[in-house]
Amino acid sequence: MRRTTIYVCAILAAASIFASACSDQLYLENAATPLALGMDLDKNDKFHFYGTVPVFSKNIKKKSQEIAGTAESLRQSRSFQDAQTAGTIQGRNYQVILLGRRLLQQEDWFAMLDVLFRDARNTITDRMIAVDGQVKDVIYLNPPDQPLMPILLRGMVDTKTKRSETYSTTAQELHRQFFDKGVTPYIAEIKITNKQVQLKGSALLNAKGKYAMSLNAQETVLLSILQKQADPGFSMSYRIPGKPLKGPFETDMLSFTGGKLKTKIKSGYENGRFTFDIHIKTKIGLSEHLFPVNVAQDAKKLEKQASALMEKQIEGLIQKMQKHRLDPIGLGVYARAKQYKQYIKVEEDWPEAFSHAVVNIKVELSIAAMGPVK
């Protein structure tokens, strides 16, 4: 009796499973997996989407296919995207998302990315990259001597992030930065010069996502230091004032490599303004100095000069950010943790409150190594 029931159940289950359980299967031949997604606005502020789909075939020389079109939103455009490829478009493998300059000049564009978070099968570790120019130019560039555009960009952003020269901000990380009221978003930025993609550094967005300013590689390193995100091995160069110039070469250049950083941030509140004391301490190794210097004797002097230059550059950076109402450092998070009573009053408009804050910077570099040459 018992055995028969089990058999009956097993047959019933097998039948039902084979009949319909595999409705989620997908053959690779029937799938088109774009590796890059581009979003931009044209001259009339109409929304455009772009995609790069890799082509797997021996007989086709070009390894990727580009799709493009206008749409109201990303998911609404899916049928139109599907119509351009042999398979169905799957959003499961995006590597990078490119954002055009014109799109970034609008506020609240982030809502367009809702489908990434709402459709559970989409990836959310795509690197967000701002394009200084039009996304169209990047997507259709296809240089013959470089890997597929999405792979190139992904590699470019990821490796330079290790050197703190840009940010590999993922879609999820950007989501966090938008939702955290004590920080403003920052993403990587690229530009096309002479038909080559170049990494510019990073783009800072305001609290609503509108493009505010760009940072070059060295400024991005400084920002990473302030964010306590910089890994040892970052490189900086300064022109030491008062050193002689010889010929066309800038022989007053000093470059050094940073070691492990100790960044301390103290927050306070005085006379209606937030105050932040930032103390940066690290050991550096000299990697080049084009002027003669006796490191054994003049190390202290050189340390002071380099520290002062770095301090000055950071102060300039912070002033620029305050002018643009930006707080990519996330000092708001410190204010929330330590000065909650004051912070909660200005939470809704923290960048404004930050623009009035007093930020004191102190940099303390000490030379630990001068390299194998004296």
Partner: protein, 366 residues
Amino acid sequence: MINTEKNSITSMQFIFIISGIQISVAVLSLPRKLAEAAGTDGLLALPLGYLLNLLCGYIIIMVMRKSSEKSLYDTLSKTMGAWVAKGFSLLLAFYFLHLMYDGLVRAILIVKTWLMPNTQGYVLMILLLFPAYKIALGGPRILGRYAELVTVISCWLPFVYLFTLKYAHWLNLLPLFKDGFLPVLTAVKATIYPSLGIIAVFILYPYLQKKEKAVSALVISNSITMSVYIFITTICFIYYSPHESTVFNDPIISILKTIEFRFIERIEIPFISFYLFVFSLVWIPCMYIASFCISQVFGLSDHRFPLRALVIVLAIGTFFYLPTYNQSDKIELWLARFGFCIEYILPSLLLVYLTLYKRFHRRAAS
């Protein structure tokens, strides 16, 4: 009626069954609920909930110690009459059915959202019911072994979450008690639903080998549950920004999407599939306990027939109707209320009654 010798469970198995019922699907949404109630201070509500659970667990064990007969059912029918005992069993059966259905529906909805959106709910239900039926049929000892097995094979799960520490923002947790003590107290309410399941002691206690160790076993199981909850909630709160924690329905799964390995993309897929083992720790024991209680109500010799009926009704029922996400949330809300009455209030009343009855009875006897 109960063969406790053949089916006895060790303290270890007892611990894992109780923790399993508690953690299961409830852990998924816990950080969001805590954040909704008290922001990042919700974390502080967990230790308070823990103390509450310890108290309630102690009361339940005291009730079992006071009941001189083999099982609570026998004690109740002796002290209050057969019909009251039957009513009590029916109530427990309803409660565990509720708990089981909630767990099953949640698991199916999660699989449907994350893994197989185009597959029919009843297919998933049938697939889940097969192993569940086989295990629940075996009785407490098999349940205990299954719980042990699942605990052993899934103890690596928390370590994967450590990969998110790379993006940790510890400052998110500060300041503590940012809006005073009241929000923390309201957040304790959110810890009730994930703590439900201690009442299974009423059924499992007679099978326990070393009854004198029951209290310490219950303390250990509650400690395991709470440390898992504190760990997971901390991970979520330091990863997501404070206003973001409330945006994700199941932050525990969403956070997995952000972990990247070189060899595998989208690790949430194998993870959710593996999580089904953990989820199953709620519906399999509950299935057994519910059918066991029903067999007591009807005076059947064992739980096989109710179990079969239950499985068939579930399979056929899901073909016609599967709750949506919103309805499942409602089920959960009702379960939290129902559970509060059953797990926190009912045992205290029973304890008072049994104490008074004993005192009265002794006086009458002497």
